[in-house]
């Protein structure tokens, strides 16, 4: 086990380094750089001299070869300095400190929501295969999978503003935006967050439910289930103890991948819902070639992914005694 942990840790470091390079270079692939897009955005009236452009480039270090830029960026990060966001004129560290906690505050409950809803439904659907309930959940599940989350967001915003006079989008309703913390404000945040979780979690719930159902169906016909039945256990008790236990561990172990997937996979939904998370921040950064910001977000996401995968593997090893490390 010890050597496995060391081996995996080294692997993780190598992967993160490679991803950091890819992130840094790929961000700069589009023609031009931040200065070009900056200049074109303000070039309306005043003419900007070639000298001024050069000065700007020099100021940001964009005149150096790519390798040098990367080296400077990554060594700074190791010292806790993520660089400057050109677009926001603030340090990337500041921006992340603002957005990441909120992102996690939405992502983690969403993940819990997805599993807490999908696993029981998956179990029910498998045990009562071809029942009315199973058909119903299958139908709802396919709809949940087929509708893009952001579309669901738009529909919910429409419905709630049109019929309930409520306001969806953002974490705070306007009247609470700048209000001090109070019970009403907490309620308001929870309500908005609940909607966000529902919208972001729908497709994940639908998918997980199907996976759980399929896995459990495979297990239900196994001989050990019959052994347990012949032992005299009651039906639900034996189902929960044996086949569910076998089927659920691979499903649960995907929890590691869902975390980054929800952070990076929800840009559009978060933009539609106007959520102050990292998704929209990344989208804008890429569009305006705000390279330090974009590369830093990608780097952090990839670190989360790698750690998540590692945790998933550990979870599987722990859950299934047949897996040797």
């Amino acid at each position: 086990m010890g050597s496995y942990l060391v081996r995996r840790s080294l692997q993780m470091v190598v992967i993160v380094v490679i991803i950091s390079m890819v992130a840094f270079f790929v961000i700069q692939l589009p023609p031009g750089d931040f200065v070009t897009s900056y200049v074109s955005s303000i070039a309306g009236g005043d003419r900007i001299t070639q000298d001024a452009v050069l000065a700007l480039r020099q100021q940001f270090g964009l005149d150096q070869p790519m390798i040098v830029q990367y080296w400077r960026w990554i060594t700074n990060i190791l010292q806790g300095n993520f660089g400057l966001s050109f677009q926001h004129q603030r340090t990337v560290g500041d921006l992340l400190a603002e957005r990441l906690p909120l992102t996690l505050a939405i992502t983690i409950p969403t993940t819990i929501f997805v599993y807490a809803v999908a696993i029981p439904i998956g179990i029910y659907s498998a045990v009562r295969q071809y029942s009315v309930g199973d058909y119903l959940f299958t139908f709802v599940g396919f709809i949940g999978l087929a509708i893009p989350n952001f579309l669901l967001g738009i529909v919910l915003i429409y419905v709630s503003t049109r019929y309930f006079g409520g306001n969806v989008g953002g974490l705070f309703s306007p009247e609470f935006e700048n209000a001090p913390w109070s019970f009403a404000r907490v309620m308001d945040v929870s309500r908005n967050m609940g909607l966000a979780i529902l919208i972001i979690g729908t497709s994940g719930t639908a998918a997980t439910m199907r996976v759980m159902r399929g896995m459990l169906l495979d297990e239900l016909s196994q001989a050990y289930v019959e052994t347990a039945r012949a032992k005299g256990l009651s039906e639900w008790r034996l189902i929960l103890k044996y086949p569910v236990r076998v089927a659920v561990s691979p499903v649960l172990s995907t929890v590691g991948f869902t975390l980054p997937a929800m952070i990076s996979g929800t840009e559009i939904t978060a933009t539609v819902l106007n959520l102050p998370t990292t998704g929209p921040l990344l989208l804008n950064a890429v569009r305006s070639q705000d390279m330090f910001l974009a590369a830093s977000i990608i780097l952090i996401l990839s670190i989360l992914t790698v750690i998540g995968t590692f945790l998933s593997d550990l979870l599987l090893v722990w859950a299934d005694p047949r897996i040797k490390v």
Binding site: T227, A230, Y242
Partner: protein, 344 residues
């Protein structure tokens, strides 16, 4: 004569599928006396496993018991008709694993891969004997030692994949016997094992039976094993019992042409491999969805008379020496038995 422990009368268990109905068990009858070992023999698909599952009421959907009676004599002498119980009910669950236990063919897949041996055996003790988990552990080790499991105190904490097939089957037997059942049903318990292990497991089962006096219903393809293990044999064909009798009678003087064919399809001594299936009897099994009039074996029977055999289904009837046969011509055929193959 003592009262029978288990009496099955005209049991019918059918699978209703969109393609039609499979009559997996179609009017089977048999009797098991306390402490007796009864062998059930028949080709693959003749309904042996479905019959055992019917007794425990664990026939999976879309299977259903359509008729008949399964009478179990309880410890207090009362008789319970198992077919009348709710298959999910408390009453049948108190019988499963406590009064009637079952061991299955595949020792690998019959145990949960993610629970320890001790957990899976101890569970039965907690369930039926009301032990506390800590007491159950000690009992489990004792149960494992009872089936001659080497290093029982270590095996108890191991997972099925960590031990050999023979040891897994020992663990299954320990699990089945830990609550002292009065009837053990073994569905081809040694088919998946090599010859040496098979012999050990069979010897173990015989020893345990002598010690406990339980009855055994032993399903197998292997007529050699039947001769070794059982006193009484039930031959099944297409969901029905076609011949029953004491082992020696069946071997030395079979009355049903199907039994005769089975006996003479045993590979010669020395060619027998562990788990070798019966060399098939001439002709194939008919379409399971079809049932024609007359004797079910008639299409494959060399003694088919073309009259009564194809128009009238024979009944199971006594023919002396403790035998019963389902054949119109049983007394007239004078079929040859096998000599010297039945161990004394």
């Amino acid at each position: 004569m003592a009262d029978p422990l288990l009496t099955i009368e005209d049991l019918r268990t059918h699978y209703h599928m969109t393609q039609g109905t499979v009559r997996a068990v179609d009017g089977a009858s048999l009797t098991v006396m306390p402490g007796q070992t009864v062998g059930i023999v028949g080709e693959s698909g003749c309904g042996k496993s479905v019959m055992l599952r019917s007794i425990l009421r664990i026939v999976p959907k879309p299977g259903r018991i359509e008729g008949g009676r399964i009478a179990l004599r309880r410890e207090d002498g009362a008789v319970t008709d198992l077919t009348a119980l709710d298959p999910d009910g408390r009453e049948i669950r108190a019988i499963r694993g406590a009064e009637i236990s079952m061991i299955f063919q595949e020792p690998m897949s019959s145990l949960s891969p993610v629970h320890t041996i001790g957990n899976q055996i101890g569970e039965a003790l907690v369930l039926h004997k009301g032990l506390k988990p800590r007491e159950a552990r000690a009992e489990t080790v004792a149960a494992l030692e009872h089936v001659a499991m080497p290093r029982a105190d270590r095996i108890v904490d191991m997972y099925p994949h960590e031990i050999s097939g023979g040891m897994r089957q020992r663990a299954m037997i320990a699990m089945a016997l830990c609550c002292n059942p009065r009837l053990l049903m073994a569905d081809e318990p040694t088919t998946a094992l090599d010859v040496t292990t098979q012999a050990q497991i069979l010897a173990l089962m015989r020893r345990l039976q002598e010690e406990s006096g339980m009855a055994i219903l032993f399903v197998t393809h292997d007529l050699g094993v039947v001769a070794q293990m059982t006193e009484f044999v039930v031959i099944m064909y297409l969901g029905r019992v076609v011949e029953t009798g004491p082992v020696r009678e069946i071997y030395h003087a079979p009355k049903h042409p199907y039994t005769h064919a089975l006996l003479h399809s045993i590979p010669k001594l020395g060619q027998r491999r562990a788990g070798a299936r019966l060399r098939s009897v001439a002709g194939g099994l008919p379409d399971p969805y079809l049932r024609q009039a007359g004797c079910p074996f008639a299409p494959r029977c060399p003694h088919n008379d073309g009259a009564a055999c194809v128009t009238e289904a024979p009944a199971l009837r006594p023919v002396g020496n403790g035998c019963e046969v389902r054949c119109h011509h049983a007394e007239r055929l004078g079929l040859a038995g096998v000599r010297g193959k039945v161990p004394a």
